[in-house]
């Protein structure tokens, strides 16, 4: 009886509860993004790079300097400067790159598809291998298979990604010639198609440029496999622990008693329940690939966000650095939000509990 009354009460208050949750979530996200802005703003103020000199050059006269100083709003108190910064950031204005002399937002828009493509292929590889491997390890808990998976995972957690990338290049590119070298595409194919989406795999395939497509594949194979390996290590470990949790439940015993085939118990009954937290894990590791991409892109000369960030850093191009960092932070928050949302969508228990 209590269960019944609970659920009817839940239904009555469902709409306001969902709205309330959405409001709370929106407030949290707004607060977090504001916090990100505070962090990048403060870092921008602390750096020893003079923003005025970056604009006027170091041979400007004192009067030009003073004028630029006022124009940049540097004579205002800190909180006014911050308000100005937020106002600009909201409209997508992160200033101009010192290096490319273009608005940061344009630079980032050009670099982002490269990172997106790499991370997406990486997470697809990671999921396709990580989930079955994790299930396999859980089913053979404590046996050889489990140990092998554990060791593969440990290697993934312990080896520096940039070093594995270099070793990969040394073996698969320099020694065996199986894959193409650094970069996204050979220069001879660069003008064979028009980059509409910026995702070269998609662009070349849609325009039927199969030679270029093959070239893109052989360029992306190694870095994507590398990122895929790292996410696989994490996804397999989490899949294993979720599956162990499910396989210990009583409904599994019931299914076995009923005589359900073992493969069905594992791949249908248990995995479906393990899939809910797994979606969160996959979303988060997708976000983690953004981080991995900073080092991977440097190793593979991949013209994405990570390389843009490190290039700007090495040239003390602070606008670009902070813009890039802010964007990555916002994507991170977005993906976190997405994982929360997917969790609610997939798990009716969470949905009812709101």
């Amino acid at each position: 009886m209590t269960a019944l009354s609970d659920s009817s009460e839940g239904r009555r208050s469902a709409l306001p509860a969902v709205l309330g949750k959405a409001m709370r979530l929106a407030a949290t996200v707004a607060f977090t993004i504001l916090g990100l802005l505070v962090v990048t703003f403060l870092i921008g103020r602390v750096v020893p790079v003079d923003p005025v000199l970056a604009v006027v050059g170091d041979r400007a006269s004192q009067s030009t300097y003073d004028k630029a100083f006022v124009e940049l709003g540097l004579d205002q108190p800190l909180y006014v400067q911050f308000a100005l910064y937020v106002e600009k950031a909201v409209t997508g204005d992160f200033g101009e790159s010192f290096l490319t002399k273009k608005p940061i937002i344009d630079d980032i828009a050009r670099a982002f598809p490269a990172t997106l493509e790499l991370a997406t292929v990486g997470i697809i590889i990671g999921t396709l291998f990580g989930v079955p491997v994790g299930v396999w390890a859980a089913v053979r808990q404590g046996k050889l298979a489990d140990q092998v998976v554990r060791i593969l995972g440990l290697i993934g957690y312990s080896a520096p990604i940039f070093w594995l990338g270099l070793v990969g290049l040394l073996i698969f590119y320099a020694k065996w010639g199986l894959v193409a070298g650094p970069g996204r595409i050979d220069i001879s194919y660069e003008y064979a198609f028009t980059p509409t989406t910026g995702l070269f795999l998609l662009d070349t395939a849609m325009q039927g440029q199969w030679d270029a497509f093959r070239n893109v594949v052989s360029h992306i194979a190694l870095p994507a496999a590398l990122l895929g390996y790292y996410s696989m290590a994490y996804i397999a470990r989490m899949t294993r622990s979720f599956m162990l949790n499910e396989l210990a439940q009583e409904y599994i015993v019931t299914a076995r008693v009923k005589g359900v085939a073992e493969w069905r118990i594992i791949w249908v009954h248990a995995l479906r329940n393990a899939a809910v937290p797994l979606v969160t894990v996959i979303t988060l590791s997708y976000a983690g690939l953004l981080e991995g991409s900073v080092l991977t892109e440097t190793v593979f000369a991949w013209p994405g966000l990570g390389q843009y960030l490190t290039n700007s850093l090495q040239n003390a191009d602070m606008n670009a650095v902070l813009g890039g960092i802010l964007l990555i932070g916002i994507i991170f928050v977005g993906l976190n939000l997405l994982s929360d949302f997917l969790y609610t969508l997939l798990d009716p228990r969470v949905r009812r509990r709101t």
Binding site: T28, F31, T32, G35, L36, V38, V39, T40, I43, G44, V46, V47, P48, L154, I155, Y157, S158, A159, P160, I161, F162, W163, L164, L166, V167, L169, L170, A174, S241, L244, A287, G288, L290, E291, V294, L295, T298, L309, T310, L313, Q314, M318, V321, L322, I325, I328, G329, F332, V333, N336
Partner: protein, 307 residues
């Protein structure tokens, strides 16, 4: 032979069910933990690697056959392949890579130790305060923690290094700033379960101040799970430091930092593979050691989380 009964007596004293003093109980507990840990083979491998790292760092001057910074003859000793004289070969400035890797152990150990020393107290302080007081203070502190967690670690460390300027000290500060939030979360969760325990109520009734309760009674109970977490994080700290070094933002040349050494060897990767590969093996082995040690500690001290 005469020593045997004495040792037996000591063992008995250690494992006694009725310890005579608090000290005996504590030492006995530590001994039991050690016995449990010793049976964890991978954990022992990890411990061995970490102990070796510490020994190598201490005796680096004795172990390293050459100077880590001053190179040999630039005409004859550049980019030599691994041999009996130069176990890991030499780099483009005719420096012995083995000696540099050995001295690099000091830098790595310093980074790990300093980050742990800086980040752990911050995390504990924020977490216990937040959990103990609750209310608006909790909300504010946890929101700040969330903001730090919203950045991927390496990216945030990059941002701080950009602000502070490259260098190993700044890299350490940057990594510490990015490391404390998970510890704060953990300490808060532990505090929430401890806060309403009866022994805390008893202390409060005796008139202990909040500060005293937090520092003297709550923090020690949070310590073990936070320490496990820090140990598990150490591999990550090493990898982040190496990543910063690789990007040229951590240790500066000619310091023999492993990440920076890999970056230096990158140009010669295809013809002289050992220059970039050897320091990478060192990073891999050491972070593997910390990972195994952390896993082992968790299995022994916190069997609940191990599953």
């Amino acid at each position: 032979m005469t020593a045997t009964p004495e040792r037996e007596g000591f063992r008995e004293w250690l494992l006694s069910e009725q310890p005579a003093s608090r000290g005996q109980a504590r030492i006995g507990q530590a001994w039991r933990t050690w016995l449990a840990f010793r049976s964890n083979r991978l954990g022992m491998v990890g411990l061995t690697i970490v102990v070796l790292l510490v020994l190598i760092a201490i005796f680096a001057d004795v172990i390293a056959p050459f100077d880590p910074v001053l190179g040999g003859d630039l005409r004859t000793a550049r980019l030599l392949p691994p041999s009996m004289v130069h176990l890991m070969g030499t780099d483009d400035l005719a420096r012995d890579i083995f000696s540099r890797v050995v001295h690099g152990a000091r830098l790595t150990l310093m980074v790990v130790a300093l980050v742990a020393i800086i980040a752990t107290p911050i995390g504990l302080l924020v977490g216990t305060t937040s959990g103990y007081y609750g209310g608006w203070l909790d909300t504010v502190l946890m929101r700040i923690t969330d903001i730090f967690l919203a950045f991927p670690r390496l990216i945030l460390a990059l941002a701080f290094v950009a602000a502070l300027g490259p260098g190993i000290e700044n890299a350490i500060i940057a990594i510490a700033i990015t490391s404390w939030p998970p510890y704060a979360r953990l300490a808060r969760a532990e505090t929430l379960t401890i806060r309403n325990a009866e022994h805390i109520d008893a202390i409060r009734l005796q008139g202990a101040s909040s500060l005293r309760i937090i520092w003297g009674h709550v923090t020690p109970l949070c310590l073990s799970s936070v320490i496990i977490r820090v140990t598990l994080d150490m591999a990550g700290i090493i990898l982040t430091a190496a990543g910063l070094g690789f990007l040229g933002l951590g240790a500066q040349p000619p310091q023999p930092e492993w990440g920076a050494m890999i970056a230096g060897g990158r140009r010669f990767l295809i013809d002289y593979w050992w220059v970039a590969t050897m320091p990478g093996i060192a990073i891999f082995v050491v972070s593997l050691g910390f990972n195994l040690l952390g896993d082992g500690l968790r299995d022994v001290l916190d069997p609940k989380a191990a599953k």
